[in-house]
Symmetry: C2
Subunit: 361 residues, 2 copies
């Protein structure tokens, strides 16, 4: 495999073509010519290459209504390159086999009932992981080079998950954190494609955040939002620190608790309303520090933070306004994700495809 020379040029162009189709869906050869800035003949040669290897499928053009010869439609063949995506939660493991172009080919889910998620992987994936080009697992926590350094949610510290998964399935795995995966998912298949610096907040048993710049996860872009210290010397946290956001937030738990609290607050329960407000303020203050440090242009509230934000956006916004400079605030959009529960799984798959396409270059 030459690292230089004209063959690399070909590989780069081939990869660019596959990436274009994977990201933007089926396109005509004419559109591809425009998008990649290559000659018609070059596109033709590349497409012929990739059709032969089975990655692409060409359909004879149907009339577009305008004059001229109709252009051939090119589309990905999903089964030609697949990625295994797994999302690990406290109580369950979810799996999807995703094909080139983003189509979900298989899907499964299993309750854990206290079992170790790694032990459930083979059953959930049904061996499908073996044929996939990449396998990616999303876990809520601080991930560094395949190792889960810290996870409030799973209660892990320093677990080499990549190695464990490899041992259990006989293949290499990539490990990413849930929030970063979800950020990638929302950017690539959601509604956040315009964002150049996207911050995704994930509320599970712990609070994590993920930063995606220009659609790509950063080296170590996994942020332990729940362990931003908002109250120095405050309540003791499970991580050993004091005054972490997770330890200080009054409303804390799963989405069901949030729903109960919002319901109670809506029915005039003053204590519930105050609790929600103070939680929103704590979150806003922690966010202020993260925004000052990272300067995102969009924040998405995922997991149960979605419910918190929808029910109590005002205190979040005002606490944020009190802790960030006007310029950082003014270009900031606050929203909720559009992929719902699927974001992390889809993002994990997209992380895998990024590796697949990089590997083609």
């Amino acid at each position: 495999m030459a690292r230089t020379g004209t063959e690399e040029l070909r590989r780069r162009n081939r990869a660019a073509l596959v990436e274009q189709l994977h990201r933007h869906g089926p396109q005509t050869r004419a559109e591809l010519t425009e998008a990649l800035g290559l000659n018609r003949s070059t596109i033709g040669a590349l497409a012929a290459d990739l059709a032969e290897t089975g990655h692409l499928h060409e359909t004879t053009g149907r009339s577009t209504g305008s004059a001229g010869r109709p252009s051939t439609l090119v589309e990905c063949v999903p089964k030609a390159a697949t990625v295994t995506a797994v999302e690990i939660r406290v109580d369950r493991v979810r799996f999807a086999l995703v094909g080139l172009g983003g189509e979900v080919l298989e899907r499964a889910e299993a309750e854990l009932d206290g079992a170790d998620p790694v032990d459930a992987i083979e059953v959930v994936t049904g061996g499908a992981a073996r044929d996939a080009l990449e396998a990616v697992a999303a876990v809520p926590g601080l991930v560094d080079a395949g190792v889960v350094a810290h996870s409030t949610e799973l209660g892990w510290a320093g677990r080499d998950l990549a190695a464990d998964l490899a041992a259990a399935t006989g293949r290499a795995w990539q490990v990413v954190d849930t929030a970063t995966a979800a950020a990638v998912g929302e950017w690539s298949r959601g509604d956040a494609h315009e964002s150049t610096k996207l911050l995704y907040l994930h509320g599970g048993r712990g609070l994590t955040a993920g930063l995606v710049v220009d659609g790509r996860a950063q080296r170590g872009g996994s942020i332990q939002l729940g362990h931003i210290v908002v109250q120095p010397g405050g309540h003791e946290c499970g991580c050993g620190l004091r005054g972490c956001l997770e330890a200080e937030m009054e409303v804390f738990g799963y989405a069901e608790d949030i729903e109960y609290a919002t319901l109670a607050a809506g029915m005039g329960d003053a204590a519930a309303r105050d609790g929600l407000r103070r939680s929103g303020e704590d979150l806003g203050r922690a966010l202020g520090a993260v925004v000052t440090a990272t300067g995102p242009d969009e924040i998405l509230f995922g997991g149960w933070l979605r419910e918190l934000y929808l029910s109590t956006a005002a205190p979040v916004r005002s606490a944020l306004a009190e802790t960030t400079l006007p310029h950082l605030r003014s270009r900031l959009r606050l929203r909720t994700p559009v992929l719902g529960d699927e974001g992390a799984l889809i993002g994990a798959a997209e992380t895998g495809f990024a590796a697949v396409i990089d590997g083609m270059r």
Copy 2:
């Protein structure tokens, strides 16, 4: 200028050769062959190209002591490509004309005495900026696309510095923030080349920080460290917020004040010692939030923070330890910069060279 094709391949390789020499200094053709993974004949052709355009100079090989024909030494011609670097401070403007390879060809400095720094630019640079391929100005503050959105130090808000400099000098300028520039400088010409995620803290009249990942400045990587809120509802800050680090730190000012305080503390002044300690704690807490949000592997204390850190590292470290997860802390090195006062100027020049080399591709 074609964006694809075999000519681009040549351009990329040419740029890679120049980058290699610029960053690692003079090298033999044999070393270049190894470093770039290209064939001997290709290196020869590229070097011949660049020698003809005047970018490179080849010296007939001198014996290395080992067997074989001595390899030709290739080095940059500094004057072949120059970058104008300017550092703007409250009280003065500093200028350097830097040549390819990193050699400083000219240097000048001017006190401002209250004048607008832009008005002093033409005099300080002596018109040298005109011939340079790139011109870069470093300013302490929050910079976004040529605009200084906020600068405690200069008292600017929303000033389009790139446009002002262009109007004053008749050429395009790039604007970066001082801390990020210094981070780039320390990474490329200092002692922080091993760091993959380098956080540089700059103490001037305001406190700013810059993040450099794999040697490159991030989009909007300029961090207003001084406006991390460490005391919600605390003292009013000039930026309009309350409880900013800048407003809360007891020892705050120029390096001279720090020196005075450390001197007093050393002579047993309990008040000075307490003030230093509390300032170190405040700084450590703000840093904790930034570290949790960005996950650097190295932190450099620049400007007068250097003095503060050297005299009172313990409270900074312990406050940091109380506000960051063990895993983030364990891989973190705290140090002081090696380029001293020059970091930002050198880094601004390197930012310019990055653009020059990117432009060759």
